[in-house]
């Protein structure tokens, strides 16, 4: 398929950047919502990488996995948000550093 053809490494670079951003978000964010968002970013980074790789090898598998990852992410977030509500209810906060009863 003709048209613009971006080398694999560039895309992987981008995706790794995305991944790093997401991870950074996880590390610095205290609010559970943002944490979940950062997770999304990471998962999507992976998805992007898959698509790129699929394109590189000229296989459909990449896209398939991408769909899969979308659903996975959806499931995760669905449960995640459910928990968020509970957190708000039981801890009266969304700050995960405060919602911290167990340690040692």
């Amino acid at each position: 398929m003709d048209g613009l053809n971006i080398p694999l490494n560039h895309i992987l670079l981008v995706s790794s950047l995305l991944f790093a951003i997401g991870m950074l978000g996880l590390m610095i964010r205290r609010n559970i919502i943002f944490i979940l968002m950062s997770l999304e970013v990471m998962l999507n980074a992976a998805a992007l990488a898959f698509v790129a790789a699929g394109a590189h090898w000229g296989q459909p598998d990449g896209q398939v996995v991408f769909m899969l990852i979308l659903t996975v992410a959806a499931a995760e977030v669905a449960v995640g948000l459910g928990l968020v509500l509970q957190v708000q209810k039981r801890f009266k906060t969304l700050d995960m550093d405060d919602a911290n009863r167990m340690q040692g």
């Binding site: 944490i35 790129a52 790789a53 996995v65 995640g80 928990l83 039981r90 009863r101 040692g104």
Partner: protein, 473 residues
């Protein structure tokens, strides 16, 4: 996709069927005991179907590999799930209205585990792991009251999602490097891909290792373990510690073996470091831990450290002795850990105060059965002869010696020596006289305890049949 394939898939189908039936039942009439019975029957049927599927072993499409090994573990984790089921009854009967979903979640999670075990392809691995995981989050957070379960659930969700992301990204890199998603394919092209672009291959497999290492709570990816163990309802903790972990380990070893990753020395060094770290860190953390669930969490960290030694030996040994050792070790580990959690849930239940080791004082005299079962479990974890744990360690050390991993073995000896201390602390606490309330457990739990204790001792004192059997897998 022919008929025999369906027979091969019997366990998976049976579990799915159970899940469906449960949903229907819930929509008709909400009743915990019914749901319980359905689940139990479902598990039993699946157990049977697992043995039935033996005659049809074959790779089912590219995704699943149904062989003796996976079927064995399928039945093993089903037994474990049965125990979990038994424990759950007491635990959740006190809960409010909605209980049936718990059983549904349990079934789904088990389904995920089975898929994970049989997976021979990144996608199936991903599916299985997520199915199991997502269901687990809900199970952990299931209790309606209390902050700890919720906190545990959130932590587990976020962290394991992060781990999954790592895993996925690793897969993506490997895929980018090899253009294959199935283990076999990867195994075939791994060497070549490494030659072409080592960084890509290594980074990919390293991230996979990290992602799976998290699920196995291998140091330094172990930090979630104690919090989740403590927060989760005890039966769920038991489930998490046994079913999910062993399923993941089976998947890992399949990936490692079929994906021919053991040929990369760099990966091996990484594994060595992880193993050593887990052995030491786990035991050091456990040394003075008061809460028995957290203590078991730490000890599990150490145990997967021991188990990694076997995986490392792959580089030097033929696969069958290794897989045999893995089989034995995981079996011993599952039985022992289940026994421990059974007793904990019988004695302490969900009450954190009762989970303190000092609360176990006098158990020997007030509840001899539970006490002796826990003692046996602890001795097995410590690896004292006549218990399953000893034979497991025997395998590890043998494999280690055969492949000359002296450094690792030295660490293993030191670690086990440290470990004895905290296992003994529990036993000692139980022997000390104190007036403790003898709240009774129902007969199923008692039965489970007895069976588990018996099997620990059987595996330890007369392992020959099992070894012979495991040799065939």
């Amino acid at each position: 996709m022919n008929a025999t394939m369906f027979s091969a898939l019997a366990p998976i189908l049976m579990l799915s069927l159970t899940a469906v039936v449960l949903m229907i039942q819930a929509s008709i009439k909400r009743d915990q005991s019914v749901a319980w019975v359905i689940t139990a029957v479902g598990f039993l049927l699946t157990l049977w179907s697992a043995s039935y599927a033996r005659d049809f072993i074959q790779p089912v499409t590219i995704l699943l590999e149904v062989d003796h090994w996976s079927l064995f573990f399928t039945s093993l984790i089903l037994m474990a799930s049965l125990v979990t089921l038994v424990l759950s009854k007491e635990t959740f009967s006190s809960e409010g209205e909605r209980k049936e979903e718990y059983y549904l979640l349990l079934v789904l999670s088990v389904l995920g585990a089975v898929v994970l075990i049989q997976s021979s392809h990144m996608v199936s691995l991903l599916l299985g792991m997520e199915l199991m995981g997502v269901a687990l989050y809900a199970m952990i957070a299931f209790p309606e009251r209390g902050q700890l379960p919720l906190e545990g659930a959130v932590k587990y969700l976020v962290l394991s999602a992060c781990a999954s992301a790592m895993l996925l990204y690793g897969f993506a890199l490997i895929y980018a490097a090899t253009g294959e998603l199935s283990y076999a394919g990867i195994g075939a092209r791994a060497a070549l891909a490494y030659a072409e672009n080592p960084m890509l291959m290594m980074a990919g497999s390293a991230m996979v290792l990290a992602g799976i290492g998290f699920k196995l709570s291998v140091a330094p990816f172990h930090m979630w373990t104690p919090d989740v163990y403590e927060g989760a309802p005890t039966p769920v903790t038991g489930f998490l510690a046994t079913v999910s972990k062993s399923a993941v380990f089976v998947a890992l070893s399949r990936f490692y073996i079929d994906g021919a990753l053991y040929q990369f020395s760099g990966l091996n060094t990484a594994l060595v470091v992880l193993a050593i770290a887990s052995m030491l860190v786990g035991n050091w953390l456990a040394l003075r831990q008061k809460n028995i669930k957290r203590l078991l969490a730490y000890s599990s960290i150490a145990h997967f450290g021991y188990l990694l030694v076997v995986l490392i030996a792959l580089t030097y040994l033929e696969a069958d002795l290794v897989s045999q050792s893995i089989t034995f070790y995981l079996t011993a580990y599952i039985v022992t850990t289940l026994a421990a959690f059974t007793i904990v849930s019988m004695v302490a239940g969900e009450d954190t105060a009762k989970q303190n080791i000092s609360a176990f004082a006098g158990l020997f005299w007030s509840r001899p059965l539970e006490a002796s079962a826990l003692t046996v479990a602890m001795l097995s974890l410590a690896g004292i002869p006549l218990t399953a744990g000893f034979m497991a360690k025997f395998f590890v050390i043998t494999v280690g010696i055969q492949s000359g991993l002296w450094g690792l073995l030295a660490v293993l000896v030191i670690a086990s020596a440290i470990a004895i201390y905290y296992y003994l602390r529990i036993i000692f606490a139980m022997t000390q006289s104190a007036q403790s309330s003898g709240n009774s457990a129902n007969w199923q739990e008692k039965l489970a305890a007895i069976v588990l204790m018996a099997s620990i001792l059987a595996l330890g004192s007369w392992p020959q049949p099992f070894i012979a059997y495991a040799g065939l897998l």
